[in-house]
Amino acid sequence: MRNDEYYKIAYMGLFTALASILGYVESLIPVFIGIPGVKLGLANLAVLFILIRYSWKEAALVSMARILIIGALFGSLFSIAYSTAGAALSLAVMALLAKKKDFSVIFISIAGGVTHNIGQLIIAVWLMESISVVYYAPALLVSGVVTGVLIGLLTTELLKRIRF
């Protein structure tokens, strides 16, 4: 293996750990809006960083690992199902946008935040066997944009400052 392969493995481990602990930090922050599914999405910071630095494959590994770790430690089978749906859809969209190399990190992050919430909403409709949860769609779309901007700004700064 070449030298930068070692770096990559080390950084992927580091960012998996970071994503997991950010998921925990997030669970400590109270949900003030009272809408299920609205959260900061701090873990997306690590996934987005890896996606931009490497590729969707590495990002998918980090994302999958942190979902299993956070789910096993703090969540349930239900929360794993919700996270997986959101993460898979959002990563797919973010990867497509990143590949085009025509979009800013902030926009990729917004798209990720919004599609993450859409994915969770689809799973909610399916698990609750009721279309009524679509009632939350507007709030989830707006919160996806807001948190996407925040995470996008943070990731842009991280990408500028961390070089390897």
Binding site: P36, S76, F78, F103, S104, S130, A139
Partner: protein
């Protein structure tokens, strides 16, 4: 961000606004009663006019008071549903994801299509 991106973000927000306006219109008006759904099946309907405490299975407790419904008890750890209410005549709903309980305001005069149960 570029102009193209700003337009797309504005479009997302516009969709959210349109959905919100549409659903407020559908759910709004005189909310006569609440319908409680557990696991996709209807658990029952209660009028908002009468103060009452409803036990939903062994998992949740809903209270109707002064024309508004509120979740006052839930055995799940996060208690998110207890912070969502109260819901009243202006419409709205309370959802408990872990126990799959939905409390929603229904209009007495007509059935709204979006409240149908997906199979």
């Amino acid at each position: 961000m570029k102009k193209k991106e700003l337009i797309l973000v504005a479009a997302i927000l516009a969709v959210a606004l349109a959905l919100w306006a549409g659903m407020t219109f559908l759910h709004g008006g005189e909310g006569g009663s609440i319908r409680i759904t557990v696991d996709g099946e209807e658990y029952g309907t209660w009028p908002l006019s009468k103060d009452e405490v409803i036990e939903i299975g062994d998992t949740n407790v809903c209270e109707i008071k002064d024309g508004e419904a509120n979740m006052i008890g839930a055995e799940c750890p996060d208690h998110l549903c207890m912070y969502q209410g109260p819901v009243g005549a202006s419409g709205g709903m309370i959802v408990c994801l872990p126990n799959r309980v939905i409390i929603e305001v229904v209009r007495e005069d007509k059935e709204v299509e979006i409240d149908g149960v997906a199979q």
